[in-house]
């Protein structure tokens, strides 16, 4: 439960947020698919869209915009955003590397991969590299235990990882200008 990183709860010095036209259309279509009066069901899908449109994290302005769009009290949005581990409540790097640390992965070298990643990137789990490119997270079982060790970056799973494969992935991501989002198709 809850985000692994400490939340930024202020609006001071935080960029304003507005949905793009395309994102707005997508949000409205999602709200329309529930029975009448039940559009609050769209909250989690819409938070994902907001996060993808806000450099990968949910700032207070972004959450307030979601509340306004959906006709909810801001607290209804904050309490949900803070419950789920995929919502980042403070800025993250361009690529968030989420390495699985749960037991079945551990049996196949998950711990060693986390140790390697920390050394390679020069940061600890929960931190972001100085150049703002990478955030390292340790997460729970991602349903990929047979192809462990593994990590998730945006919508993509990277499985059967070796230290070499990890290093190659880092190099490839370094030259990728686009942010990795969960909502990527």
């Amino acid at each position: 439960m809850g985000a692994t990183l400490k939340a930024v709860t202020t609006t001071e010095g935080v960029a304003p947020f507005a949905f793009s036209e395309q994102a707005l259309a997508e949000c409205r279509a999602i709200m329309a698919r529930y029975p009448e009066g039940r559009s609050k069901s769209a909250l989690i899908p819409i938070l994902h869209i907001a996060q993808a449109g806000n450099d990968g994290w949910l700032s207070v302005p972004a959450m307030d915009a979601v509340a306004a769009l959906m006709g909810l009290q801001p607290i209804e949005v904050y309490e949900v955003a803070s419950f789920y581990s995929m919502f980042n409540l403070r800025p993250v790097g361009r690529h968030v590397l989420e390495i699985c640390r749960t037991t079945p992965c551990m049996l196949r070298g998950g711990d060693a991969l986390i140790a390697h990643a920390e050394k390679r990137l020069g940061i600890h789990v929960g931190e972001t590299t100085r150049d703002g490119l990478f955030t390292l997270k340790a997460v729970e079982c991602l349903g990929s235990c047979g192809t462990a060790p593994m990590l998730q970056c945006g919508a993509k799973y990277h499985e059967d990882l070796t230290p070499e494969a990890f290093d190659a992935l880092i190099e490839q991501l370094r030259s990728t200008a686009l942010r990795s989002n969960y909502t990527d198709r």
Binding site: R33, P45, S85, F87
Partner: protein
Amino acid sequence: MGRKLLLEHENVPGIAGLEVYRAKGGYRSVEKALRTMSPEAVVEEVKKSGLRGRGGAGFPTGMKWSFLAKPPGVPRYLVVNADESEPGTFKDRYLMERIPHLLIEGMITSSFALGANLAFIYIRGEYFHVSRILERAIDEARAAGWLGRNILGTGYDLEIHVQVGAGAYICGEETALLESLEGKRGNPRIKPPFPAVKGLYECPTVVNNVETIAAVVPIVNDGGEEYAKIGVGRSTGTKLISAGGNIRRPGVYEIELGVSCDEFINSDQWCGGVDGRAFKAVVPGGSSVPIVPYELFLRTAAGEPRLMTYESLSDGGFATGTMLGSGGFYAYNDAQCIVRSTWNHTRFYRHESCGQCSPCREGTGWMEKVLHRLEHGEGRLEDIDLLWDIQRRIEGNTICPLGDAAAWPVASAIRHFRDEFEFHVRHPRKVKDPRHFEKEPFVRTPKPAAV
């Protein structure tokens, strides 16, 4: 012992698309049910099949369906549980990635049986890529007339939506899932009322696992009695097992229930034996089920060969048995440390506790703390009894079964591997190295067979 009902076409190129799926006999169950059967008759076939929920609890599906309340004028819902977060479990993902139409077909046939006109797939947020595959399959099915208004001209309407979560193991618990689907925190509800009476939007709702709903397809196609011919006793049909840990051939396997445990773990048809060392322990059904020493996985306390069935795996109760659970199977070799693994399990449950009940919230926290110090060579002998005491106070005292799920791995590890915990107290320096059993495996004192 190799019949496949769900994964028969897993390797057919293009099976994820409607055309190939249909060419392989897909959507026959929808034609049969909607054109020639009443909803009650479909429920009857599911009852006859003996199908039990594949999400972990193994509750008879036909019985669950017959509990669904049917007040006039109130909508009913089918919600498919694709949250799949139980550590060790990745079978639903495989099924949805490979053969998405099998789930959609099962949902149409099941929704018809339940009288639902709106159904949801609640899928864990981390499976965003899988949600796209499902959305594509739904679009294809709708375009071909399998979904939408007046399906096959029978007057039956159905819409299916895919709902993504956002990272929370607890949302696999059915009432937490419904809360989450309603746009709230995933806090489990107090039962009763059960979802069958008051579920999604306070309406009667059936929540079933992905694999359970997929199994409805062969059951309707071939009849419940045919399905029930496979298996042993009350464990009928086939089961998907996702196999991982220290085995040679990890992957997703569809087995006929009743395969022997020895064959499953050692034969090249499935796990292919140990990855170069010796087996030490097995968790056969996801991290929430008791861990058992390898010998007890192969044979019951009475010396009978154990089978991959609900009954055989739990033979002996928690003293010597375990559970089939979700089919999230993982095996340990002798380089692994049980204390370390138990600590990791507990860290997981602490992280995933929703925090509503104090025995679960506080208990998982304390257990993690104590296990952490034991694993790092800073524990005392009394810590082992303390752990036993904490887990005992959690079990049965919480709103949802996550509390039990956190207690059982600890209880079973102490029950079967107590001497390994003691070793950690006696040899603090040896266990400082996280790979302490790699060079010198821990040798257990054998216990008397009878308990």
